[in-house]
């Protein structure tokens, strides 16, 4: 088990290096950089000299190979550099926004899992009936309704029903939990719907598969109550594949947050990402991509290890 874990941790490194290389060259191969957006953005008249000086200051005038070497050395020493737009350390820019996004992500996951388990289970148990069809439509709806539009619908509803809109200044949950939830529960709902749909579909299909297994037939044959068969024998096994989906969707929640934070005007990681893309802030884009890819590989690893914990049939050597 330990050897397997170590092996997997080592295997993460080439993937992350691959991501780093890919992002770096995708951003730099085509001309155009932060300096142009920054100095020429407002149509101002800036001399070529000023532009060259700014490029030099940011190290953008160096040959690509050198820039790449700097970025890789920085990555290896966990120094992600400074934002090309604000000149503040990238880690600082991310740190002040991470708390908010992370909280929304955690709340969305809780909402999603709590709703998905009953939805997926009832759909599987009543397959082919109108309940199954209804769940199918609800879940495909979750995959289809853009989370930003769902967020806007929530805002409009709140406005019409209570003549109230969520506050736009962030209060940490340990300062004032009520004010915090008043603001963040809505975006969590908006991204949670899609999340819930993905998980519910997975639970439905894996439960259907498990219900065909021999041990379910054995349990029924020996007279175990149907409720027990479902909850103890079937659901426990069916939840395993769902864990993978929950993990990956959690790592990818930033995708949903990119648009949802825009709607609710939240200053989180998603908003930061969109800003740095429109500003060509290479260092910040690179750092954020590494953050997401890192979360993805780490969560994948945790999920694989959890499998071994929950399923005694799986033993890694």
């Amino acid at each position: 088990m330990l050897r397997y874990t170590l092996n997997r941790v080592l295997l993460m490194i080439p993937t992350l290096i691959g991501v780093a290389v890919l992002v770096f060259f995708m951003l730099r191969v085509i001309p155009g950089d932060v300096v142009e957006v920054k100095l020429r953005g407002d149509g101002g008249n800036v001399s070529q000299e000023t532009i060259e000086m700014e490029r030099k200051r940011l190290g953008l005038d160096k040959p690509l190979v050198y820039q790449f070497k700097d970025w890789m050395v920085g990555l290896a020493t966990l120094d992600l550099g400074k934002s090309m737009w604000t000149d503040r350390p990238v880690t600082e820019e991310i740190a002040i926004r991470l708390e908010l996004s992370l909280q929304v992500a955690v709340m969305a996951s809780i909402i999603a899992v709590l709703l998905a388990i009953p939805l997926g289970t009832t759909a599987a148990l009543m397959r082919g009936t109108w309940v199954d069809y209804a769940v199918r439509i609800i879940t495909i709806g979750g995959l289809s309704i853009p989370s930003f539009w769902f967020g806007m619908l929530i805002m409009i509803t709140l406005l019409y029903l209570f003549n109230w809109l969520p506050p736009i200044t962030f209060t940490p949950i340990y300062v004032d939990p009520i004010a915090n939830l008043k603001q963040l529960i809505w975006p969590a709902l908006a991204v949670g719907y899609r999340y819930c749909a993905v998980v519910a579909r997975m639970i439905r299909s894996s439960l259907l598969e498990v219900l065909n297994e021999d041990y379910i037939r054995t349990a029924r044959a020996k007279g175990v109550f149907e409720k027990m068969v479902i909850s103890r024998h079937a659901l426990r096994n069916a939840l395993l594949p769902a864990i993978t989906v929950i993990g990956i969707e959690f790592a990818f929640l930033i995708g949903g947050l990119v648009v949802t934070e825009q709607v609710f005007n939240l200053n989180g990681i998603g908003m930061l990402f969109v800003q740095s893309v429109s500003r060509n802030d290479f260092t910040l884009i690179q750092a954020l991509v590494m953050l997401v890819a890192g979360a993805y590989v780490v969560i994948n690893l945790i999920v694989d290890l959890l499998y071994a914990v929950f399923d005694p049939r799986i033993r890694y050597t």
């Binding site: 495909i140 995959l143 409009i156 991509v289």
Partner: protein, 297 residues
């Protein structure tokens, strides 16, 4: 170890009966196809269907609520929202179809090649696929948008299509590779190799036709994803640009300032996105159930 995710040889005896079969077995799928058909009709014949020119600005009638003259109301420039939605379906369909086609086709070729060659080549392609899969779809698309400049042909940004197609490639490659692995061991592939056919001939003539079913399923499902992604990018102001009518774009910018005064500016375009994506998702789902007996419920 790898089992085909979707079966590879649909038995389709006659075309007409297959369509009838599909409609009776998958009523939801047939219903979703009707929605898709209406949308395609509206998109193709937008000039004849739309009551107004989507670009006509009318400062005399800004933010007017839905009425007989303007079924969807008007926006902050007095443009007719219903007409903009109809023209928007053209944008959504063109971008959805082309990017899903490019992405799925590249992904399928990559997946078949990976399964066919095996060994080192397979390893390298899988590493590459793994790397691309570590990006959420929209993040990868945004990075490509940041990297590529706008390159507009006939009102549509070609680089936007690439940005949406690239995240699709690894996801299709993974599924098609799994399906192709089971084709790879078929005697007719060995026979073709023994006959001395070239690799590309075997890949395109012998293996590709047998992974058409998973390809079609992925292609339809990713049209839905592509439309959603285009809407998201346009909403963020990084996709389709004004004045081209696009659903996501109609929700972006100052649309949010009119929650109270003009909720129809929000309601209708969003409903159009949801309905279109819903129809393609449901159609893809039904197609999978129909083509793949393993998933039949």
């Amino acid at each position: 170890m790898s089992v085909a995710a979707v079966s590879t040889t649909p038995v389709v005896p006659r075309r007409r009966s297959a369509i009838l079969d599909f409609c009776t077995q998958q009523p939801l799928g047939a219903a979703s196809f009707v929605i898709i058909f209406v949308m395609m009709f509206a998109g193709i014949f937008a000039e004849y269907v739309a009551p107004y020119n989507p670009l006509d600005i009318d400062f005399g009638g800004i933010l007017s609520p839905p009425s007989w003259e303007h079924p969807g109301g008007t926006d902050a420039f007095g443009r007719d929202i219903f007409s903009r939605i109809i023209y928007g379906s053209r944008t959504a369909l063109v971008i959805g179809f082309t990017s899903s086609f490019i992405g799925s086709t590249l992904g399928a070729i990559l997946g078949i090649a990976s399964a066919y060659f095996g060994g080192k080549i397979d390893d390298w392609i899988q590493r590459f696929v793994d790397i691309l899969l570590a990006f959420p779809i929209i993040v990868l698309a945004l990075v490509v948008v940041a990297a590529l400049r706008k390159f507009i042909v006939a009102g549509i940004d070609v680089n936007l299509i690439y940005a949406i197609a690239i995240p699709i490639v690894p996801r299709v490659a993974r599924v098609v590779r799994a399906a192709a692995l089971s084709i790879r061991v078929m005697p007719y592939v060995d026979a073709a190799r023994a006959a001395g056919y070239s690799n590309s001939r075997i890949i395109f003539r012998h293996m590709a036709p047998n992974v058409v079913a998973p390809y079609l399923i992925m292609f339809t499902a990713f049209i839905a994803q592509a439309i959603l992604l285009e809407a998201s990018l346009s909403f963020l102001g990084l996709g389709v640009t004004e004045p081209t009518p696009a659903w996501g774009l109609m929700l972006s910018g100052n649309a949010a300032d009119f929650y109270r005064e003009a909720p129809w500016m929000i309601l209708f375009p969003g409903a159009a996105i949801s309905l279109a994506v819903f129809a393609f998702n449901l159609f893809g789902d039904s197609l999978r159930d129909y083509l793949d007996p393993r998933f039949k419920t």
